[in-house]
Amino acid sequence: MNSSLGHKASKQTPQTEQSDRPPGFTSNTVSNNADAIAQTIEVREIHDFHGGIHPPENKRQSTTAPIRDLPLPDQLILPLSQHIGVPAQAIVEVGEQVLKGQLIAEAFGPVSAAVHAPTSGVVTDINEYLIPHSSGMSAPCIVIKPDGEERWISHSGCKDFHDELPQTLLKHIRDAGIAGMGGAGFPSAIKLHPQQKIDTLIINAAECEPYITADDMLMREHAEEIITGIQILAHILGEPESVLIGIEDNKSEAWDALSAQLHNSNIELIEIPTKYPSGGEKQLIEILTGTQVPSGKLPAELGIVCLNVGTAFAIKQAVCEGIPLISRITTVTGKACAQAGNYRVLIGTPVSHVLSATGVDEAQCSRLVMGGPMMGFTLPDTAVPLIKTTNCILAPDQSELPTNDFAQACIRCGLCAEACPASLLPQQLYWYGRSQNHERLEAHNLFDCIECGACSYVCPSNIPLVQYYRASKGEIRQHEKDKIIADRARQRFETHQQRIEKEAQEKIARREARRAAALAKQNASTEKVSGSTSNSSSENTSESSPENSSNNSTTDSGQSDLVKAAMARLQNTQTSPEQQRQKLERALSAAQSKLQRYEKQLANPDSTDDPRTADQNNTLLAKIEGARLQHQDINARLDALPAQQGPSEDDV
């Protein structure tokens, strides 16, 4: 790859008068003529890109007639999002009268594009309508019913753009709602305001998709405006060193028209070999400069800005005449279309209106494609409107674009890899896509796929490869979204766990403290109950408590406080031997009375009762025995009490 083809380029310099080039010249005659004209012709080396295909061009059908106008449709449906970025915000209300060119939805945030009324009329609805999108979805749209008067809002452009600051010109472009007209629809004002210094401005006039001739016809009929538009772009970008127009060598008339307008400019018109997808931004940059845009980066990082030729025209209109983007050139073609050609259509015109106005036999056409046969998408319904990025409506009959056969097995023949302009391995992507092996898909650079369809085009097994890649990309994006959500949930869970753990530890600490306190209390009560006369037990207590507190004081001072409090409570209960004596005496008398009652029962059984069984006698005897033991125990403790008084008073 990158073999330089090194021919077919001409640079117009002030000395050169453009000769009358006969129409239908070939690339050879270009260089011959060029050689013949003067020494002022420079040859720019152009490069090849990997892969590419040569599908039948089918462009002649739509280039026989000049650009025509369509009658006004009954209604215009204007989606708020016809560009990449944030949808515009409607600033009109239902029932409001609008003028042609009036702002009806303003750009919301920097990456957005305004929408204008394509004609005068009444806003009849602001609601969700089917929009042209490959997924057949609906989105908010403003519906205008034209009044047929075409009353313009007052508008004016700059007299001489050279006198204006780039910022002013950018504002004009932003206010005109211009978004890339080659198909992507990126707001142009953003693209023209890069952070980097731009040394190369590339105008994409390749139009490599079969059937589409919108740019071709625009160049033939509006070459002067386009060149002015390019000069405005160059002015905004600070006059880059090279300004290049890349045009495929199948557009000789457009070449002629443009080169007749080059005059004294430094714009280079470069003819490139016809090969799909030479009009892809990355491919065109490689062809013209020999450098590749690094993966995941913008061309601006190489000092390159690339814009479509239609965008340059729209920018000229916006800047010089103050006309916002309210119409565009669209190719209507295909065997089911009786009047194939290029039409100037108002943005928002329903496809059904275009079809009836251009004589499309709806019974014949099996599908409707918006865009070209390689990258266009089928329309779910003819009610959808044309938008800023619609460069073609293709109405083929069944023989023209037959429905695909069933897919056969992939035999890894590798024709797809030969055709891939991104040097991918489409067959491997297909296999990994089928097995949903996301890791391998990313290792095989799935996201560098530009979905040009060259692989599917050459596939002998009829496998809808691009569909697999789109699905896989969607899956991976979804997977990444899910992963972010899952990560967040995990983080939340971990924090929660940490908090619970911390609480549990605090609880344990508190329990430890209580246990220590209880232990101390138990020690104290053992000492009391056992009546161990000794000082030793109380000494133990008094010894152990400082020990405990000293042990714990290092770790938890609060705990030692608790222990002290517990000790104090314990001492309070200990302090009254008088009370204890009274308590014991009460228990002694209770035990004595219980003993007497049992003995009485044993001696004089109630006459009314049934004669007692032996079991009952035994139970009674046991109770008597228990009461006697209790009595003895209490007596013993009562005896022991006076001996306890001494030390406990000392303690106090």
Partner: protein, 355 residues
């Protein structure tokens, strides 16, 4: 109006897998004709038997797997396997040998793995190796080429060929003249200089490149291969890598023609299954490496293995073994030969994780 909803692209080149397979079959014709001329009807009988077996096996398995039979049969891949195996087997081989090999190739090597596109090993080569290991005697009985038959003896007629293949048709067993293949003959040479050997051995006296008959057959397969290259059925990478590695190895190991020589360049390039392998087996896209760089490595390793086994192994020819061994390695080669994608500084490995 009911509008079809399909994804882009909406057009295609119109080539089909069965067209690819038919081109492949077409390209085998010169080789098939040469084999038939030198060795008689045997090759054609082999191919017919193999085709019938392959189609019946494929149809039966598709039926078992509840797949649309005609849809899959139409891709002609079964015929390709059958024809390649039929060409590789010795002419006049007994009928059961052909049927066993083909059935094994179709059922075990192809359909048990999932059918066309899913088989890791080249089915024809699996069939060949199974037969070579199981029935070594039958597999090495090559008939003598037409010019080397004794005075007054012609290659067997169609009827006697059929009687040889199906002994039941013959009242008494019919013998065919068999003889060793050039590679085999050369391997058995122990005492003679290459030059002397080429002058004394009948095979080489009349065919001084790589043995009478064999060199023509190989040149015919080469012609078929060049046709396929011209039609862009496959890229040049694998066959050229294989042939040049084989040539390089031969040149490197050729000692000027001593009795211990591993054989001259012409013998290795134009004898045995070299050209059939290079253009019809090594290029099988299903079982080879996928990228061009991978195919260069894949092809040259096959060339290397072919020479190593021919020179130092037990078998006179080695293509089937070399191909099967490299079929094992193909996925591994793929991991490390992913091409550099547009906009990337360098190629990355397929195993590389996301940064």
């Amino acid at each position: 109006m009911a509008l079809t909803q399909v994804t882009s692209p909406h057009t295609s080149e119109g080539a089909s897998t069965s067209w690819v397979m038919q081109q492949l079959l077409l390209a085998t014709l010169p080789g098939m004709a040469a084999l038939t001329w030198y060795f008689g009807w045997g090759t054609l009988i082999n191919i017919t038997l193999a085709c019938i077996t392959a189609i019946s096996c494929e149809a039966a398995i598709l039926k078992l797997r509840k797949r649309p039979v005609m849809f899959y049969l139409r891709d002609c891949s079964a015929l390709v396997t059958a024809v390649l195996l039929g060409l590789a087997l010795p002419p006049l081989a007994p009928w059961w040998l052909v049927i066993t090999g083909t059935a094994f190739a179709m059922i075990m090597a192809k359909h048990l793995y999932g059918g066309l596109g899913y088989n890791p090993f080249n089915p024809a080569m699996v069939g060949y190796v199974v037969l070579l290991i199981s029935f070594p005697v039958a597999m090495t009985m090559w008939p003598a080429p037409r010019p080397l038959l004794p005075e007054g003896v012609d290659v067997p007629s169609l009827w006697s060929s059929l009687q040889i293949v199906f002994p039941i048709l013959a009242a008494e067993p019919i013998d065919a003249f068999t003889m060793a293949t050039p590679l085999d003959v050369f391997k058995q040479n122990t005492g003679q200089l290459v030059e002397q050997f080429y002058k004394s051995e009948a095979l080489f006296v009349q065919g001084d490149l790589a043995g009478i008959g064999w060199e023509t057959v190989n040149l015919a397969f080469l012609a078929g291969g060049i046709y396929l290259l011209a039609r862009r059925i496959f890229t040049w990478h694998a066959p050229v890598a294989m042939l040049s590695t084989l040539a390089l190895m031969t040149w490197f190991c050729f000692d000027g023609g001593s009795s211990a020589s591993k054989g001259p360049l012409s013998l290795h390039l134009l004898s045995g299954a070299t050209m059939l392998g290079a253009f019809f087996i090594v290029t099988d896209p299903v079982t080879s490496a996928v990228s061009n760089r991978g195919r260069l490595i894949y092809g040259s390793l096959i060339g290397l293995l072919v020479f190593v086994i021919r020179a130092w192994g037990n078998y006179p020819d080695a293509l089937a073994f070399a191909v099967l061994l490299m079929n094992f390695a193909a996925p591994f080669i793929d991991y490390y030969t992913v091409p550099r994608t547009y906009g990337h500084d360098r190629a990355r490995s397929a195993l590389q994780k996301k940064d």
